[in-house]
Symmetry: C2
Subunit: 229 residues, 2 copies
């Protein structure tokens, strides 16, 4: 069984608006619904867990009902960091979708993920221990321990920017979260990072520029343009 | 003497338009002119060298005259890579501004660089061997030698995305270019990279999101919005 964990706990402060970005309305539909519909329709996804802050839970539940998102099997509260939210989602999946073999963690604010990326991630988590879509890094990235002068060069060809969804062997990934300290979860910058650090083999699959996270007003405008074209 | 080398050799193929992006007109003025005016007005910049492809040279010269960019002392032909263009600019500066102590290399398509960034870069090239404005890296960046699975984690706090302008001790930087192979110049991804690799101490100074390079249609729209606000 493959279970999607949709992260909708973010507060969206970077948008300069009160509403978290995943709840903004585009063509009369909240952005999170665009995302949920993709997983609802994907034949390899069996269940969906939604991680949502308390104040938005009723709103999300209403929309899940309104748009017929039938795979939702549970909700989990937002955590203090993204990785804590993921851990909450994992615990909800353990309870509400106990046969889960692969979990696939996605951001509600990435409503343009393709079916192929989802499928590739599921294959990766089955054949390896997990998978993550990546795109090339456009910036010239320099490394500096003190932030004052360059102290290491990185080869751009070896650098990859991680996107979501990230998929994992559910049991291995949950076990890691159950065994590490709260501090380690808090300091995890990427969900594949904690997996790799604890010995999981994470496959890189081809991401897409289109699979961007809606963070800024420009991102929102791009999404609207794509949806209307 | 501080000499700016303005790179305008790019062909702009990513814009999906025929015209290189630095020559697009915003409010009746080519983007390159916005950039040149900043260096023209900056009290610490003495001379300007423009790197430009042959077919655009007359156009640039006309605009330099029209907008009174009096510090221009020379032109250099575009090279086959950005770093080759920089080398051509260095050679032109050596010939046309022989007293240059600090060279400051900027992209014509970054027309919103602040006076402070330019000043900070000049100080950095005087006190250290060079300086580069940087911003934090927003992506979660993973390292993979084969592009198939993660094989190294990078600390986001130690990663910096390089912007322009990059400033250098002119003599040291020119000597490096005169001594290395053409292949090494061709494979240089960032202008500070080749400097660091050959022992120059490159200071990181605070860049700005506003100092973006106009690459996409969205970037162009952002520039227009800022200019009109």
């Amino acid at each position: 069984m493959n279970t999607a964990i949709i992260l909708a706990g973010g507060v969206g402060s970077r948008m300069g608006v009160d509403k978290p970005k995943q709840y903004l309305i585009v063509n009369e539909k909240p952005i999170i619904v665009y995302c949920l519909e993709i997983f609802e329709k994907h034949s390899e996804i069996d269940k969906i867990v939604i991680v949502v802050s308390d104040e938005w839970k009723d709103y999300v539940e209403e929309n899940v009902k309104k748009y017929g998102i039938s795979k939702v099997c549970g909700y989990a509260p937002a955590g203090k960091t993204r990785q804590h939210s993921i851990f909450n989602g994992l615990k909800s999946a353990e309870e509400n979708a106990p046969d889960t073999k692969v979990c696939i963690v996605h951001d509600a604010a990435r409503p343009l993920v393709s079916d192929k990326i989802i499928s590739d991630c599921i294959i990766g988590a089955t054949e390896d221990d997990g998978a993550m879509p990546v795109i090339t890094v456009k910036d010239t990235v320099y490394q500096s321990k003190d932030g004052k002068s360059i102290d290491h060069l990185l080869k751009r060809s070896e650098l990859f920017a991680g996107q979501a969804p990230e998929s994992f062997d559910f049991k291995k990934y949950l076990d890691i979260h159950n065994s590490v300290s709260d501090d380690e979860i808090a300091s995890t910058a990427g969900s594949s990072e904690i997996a790799y650090r604890h010995g999981m083999n994470i496959r890189l699959v081809e991401g897409s520029e289109r699979n961007f996270k809606i963070t800024t007003v420009e991102d929102l405008e791009t999404f609207e343009t794509i949806i209307n074209s």
